[in-house]
Point group: C2
Chain length 336, copies 2
Amino acid sequence: MVRTLAQDVLAGNRRQIGRAITLVESMRMEDRARARELLGILGERPTKAVRIGVTGVPGAGKSTFIDAMGVRLIQLGHKVAVLAVDPSSTKTGGSILGDRTRMSALAVEDNAFIRPSPSGNHLGGVARATRESMLVVEAAGYDVVLVETVGVGQSEVAVAGMVDTFLLVTLARAGDQLQGIKKGILEMADIITVNKADGDNEAAARVAARELSTAMKLITADPKARRPPVLTSSSYTGIGLMDIWEAILDHRKYLEESGGLASRRAAQQRSWMWSLIDDELLEALRQTPAVKKMRTKLEAEVMDGKTSAMEAAQEVLTTFTRNLPASWLDWADDDD
Amino acid sequence: MVRTLAQDVLAGNRRQIGRAITLVESMRMEDRARARELLGILGERPTKAVRIGVTGVPGAGKSTFIDAMGVRLIQLGHKVAVLAVDPSSTKTGGSILGDRTRMSALAVEDNAFIRPSPSGNHLGGVARATRESMLVVEAAGYDVVLVETVGVGQSEVAVAGMVDTFLLVTLARAGDQLQGIKKGILEMADIITVNKADGDNEAAARVAARELSTAMKLITADPKARRPPVLTSSSYTGIGLMDIWEAILDHRKYLEESGGLASRRAAQQRSWMWSLIDDELLEALRQTPAVKKMRTKLEAEVMDGKTSAMEAAQEVLTTFTRNLPASWLDWADDDD
């Protein structure tokens, strides 16, 4: 069954791509085994897809930017997949509808695949699922993958760990913006665009881009190091969008020639490995039947103050220790 | 030694409070045992401290707000502690200096204790440490605890899970702001202030506050439910700061009378329990000597493509399974 699913994904069947992503998003132990099998098959042929992370403070216009950029890339003959990392999203909250309506032009394109952020309790799990979804869409022939991330914070670090080029979308109100953009985010950026550079805003955007460019000189201490280009763009007029695509391709070329692409891909694999470990660890505990069984009663005792949170935590860990998942133990036996 | 530290904390010794927080922030297994002992002693006397979460998009002026508000509360006779949850911070990045200089008025007050965000790889660990730091400062007599959180995202959910009153600091540029503020954050807010309401901005802030107030009516579907007040404030002129403090006290009274305080505190304990479990799980694996030993070689193999990330993850989990921490097993034995 997994083999059939893999073939359908490789053939580019959209519905099956959706199913495959649902499978890699699932944390049920039996689904994880199937997901591993699926990714094993899909991962046999590494692709040359361009992986781009898109970040920026809320309101910077990331979604509209991706919408406008995506449509143009499809016109150039690309297949474009959009994924998202938003640990605060919940599927029931209608984020599927949200993402589709936010990217209304791209959503109706045959060569676009838009998938909202997986929901999840912890960033590690969300990031792990997005990383694996990326393998699915790439195997299905999508050669440009845009990973959108929300606002500022740890999601950016997670996304930077799974893409080749990290694009920061910012706005012209430089004072507030620079306060909002953390130095860490600036340091991660490979390309920066001052967005909404249209109408009355255009001149201000140009000034802001120049200022940011100067700021980047200060941040990149090594004079020989590559300095991220700072561009301006408007999703409304389309101005600057193709310049950004050129900058992305330039950066890609730079990475290939400097050996940076190989080392980024290697680091992505390492970071995926740790996502897998952490995620499986946290989920295995929650899905241990003995833990599930004690959970309600123990939580009630903690809430009543009969048991301290610290005692209860130890009790859960002990129970988990005594009831480790069979798949881990099996694996250990195989190995002997 | 832990007993002496606890006595010093209870006596309000600032240096020892700092040491106690360093201890609860540590994830070394032996430190965790000492931290549990410390928190056991400190937690014997529950306090009546007011726990306030402060959130808002970057640039909304949270730090300056806390600085101005904190100084006024000290003038009223309170002892004010400021903690932070920022999973993207790293201590080496100078966040200690950063927090102190950002809150320059408060930093020189004897009755203020400012502690930057613990650094950490995952939000769960940062949140767990902040929660425990809160117990330390409360035991030391700080009766107002302000927990600052960065931007939008999962940190807010974590902080909302450890405070009684959640304050959203926003700005007058309503269009961009409302796009930036997620509905989820608005739903979590107990009080909202439109900040930087001074000079040319004052009128716009009032309009924005009225608009937000209307928006809140739509969000809170139940007409009988408490609706978060929307105020305006300026850290520069001080206008509105005491109104916000009144609103915090009103909310506290409302919580006490409605039974909401007890249920929030109960939920805080439950959420702390899960932080403890997850954090110990992730850290125990990383600190298992056998895992540490294999780590470098295995990561190199994954980066070279000799081993797949999925195989390596299974190998680490198996190794962990075979070498579980003695403290978990000991506890299990005690229990038999």
